[in-house]
């Protein structure tokens, strides 16, 4: 396998640096929210991971269309990479949300429309990997994965708009407000700066992990090809 490109090595280091900076800004620089206290600080990572994960799922749906048109398995590998990294990020989103909810809503979990759609999204993509494992033929697996990811991609906008379309207790902090929400807050200038830096940080980390995962997929493909050569 080719050695890591210098750009990717630089991106690896940069990702660590921005993650450290984002954590410092969220934990130290951002002001403490008066009603919720320090637990509000998980909001920066919660929204940062959610933002990139949902965009990642939509991006995977776009890659599915490209695969179905071109039939080039390269696009399948890229799609798998996007979904895997998004799945990890979305898991962090859900866990952070649950931890935030405990002191604010007085419960770890409630079947609110946003939480329910988020859970369904996560389960859809866990099932995606389980179902892929069950198909041996690589072309069939890629075709199946593309159709599944295309349909699964619908769950991302549904999850995003759930708090804007349905009655929910989940706060709407960006682009709108929800008077029925429990745990809403207005962001100050400092909070906004930290928030946008967290969005930038998780976008950078996503790109870095995504690139590394694509390289892993290429390596897997190479192993499959070599196995075929040796056994034939």
């Amino acid at each position: 396998m080719k050695s890591k490109p210098t750009t990717l090595k630089i991106l690896d280091v940069f990702s660590i640096l921005v993650l450290g900076t984002a954590a410092y800004l969220a934990l130290v620089v951002a002001p403490t929210e008066r009603v919720m206290g320090n637990v509000q600080r998980v909001f920066y990572f919660h929204v940062g991971t959610a933002w990139t994960a949902l965009l990642g799922f939509i991006f995977a749906a776009v890659l599915s269309v490209i695969y179905l048109v071109t039939k080039d398995r390269k696009w399948d590998r890229i799609q798998v990479a996007a979904i895997e990294v998004s799945l990890v990020f979305f898991f962090i989103t859900i866990v952070l949300g649950s931890i935030w909810a405990r002191p604010v809503w007085n419960t770890w979990w409630t079947w609110d429309p946003r939480l329910t759609t988020a859970t369904i999204t996560e389960l859809i993509y866990i099932a995606y990997f389980m179902l892929r494992q069950g198909i041996d033929d690589p072309d069939r697996r890629a075709r199946f994965g593309a159709v599944y990811a295309l349909l699964g991609g619908l769950s991302a906008p549904i999850t995003f708009f759930a708090i804007r379309l349905f009655r929910t207790i989940h706060p709407v902090v960006i682009a709108g407000s929800n008077p029925e929400a429990d745990g809403s807050f207005s962001m100050t200038g400092d909070m906004l700066s930290v928030f946008f830096f967290a969005l930038f940080t998780f976008t950078v980390i996503f790109i870095d992990l995504f690139w590394n995962r694509i390289r892993l997929g290429d390596l897997q493909e190479k192993v499959e090809q070599l196995k075929l050569k040796v056994t034939m």
Partner: protein
């Protein structure tokens, strides 16, 4: 100022949240590293096996081939 409620202490939840976020990300990075390492080992092993099999094929003595002449007689080369 007298009636202002104190800020609730929810630091434990904040620490738990950040700890879990960092642990999950670290585990994912570790899984990428381990999978990459194992696949590189597989590639090395399979490339050696491929070389060995192609080497065997080229080292095998040539079997005498039979050609048929115009008259239909077989000649061994």
């Amino acid at each position: 100022m007298f009636f202002q409620e104190p800020i609730p202490d929810t630091s434990g939840y904040m620490i738990a949240g950040y700890a879990i976020a960092f642990i999950v990300m670290s585990l994912y990075v570790a899984s990428l590293y381990l999978r990459n390492r194992n696949l590189n080992r597989d590639v090395e092993m399979l490339e050696e096996m491929e070389k060995a099999t192609t080497g065997l094929e080229t080292n095998q003595p040539k079997k005498p081939t039979k050609t048929v002449t115009k008259r239909g007689r077989k000649i061994q080369s």
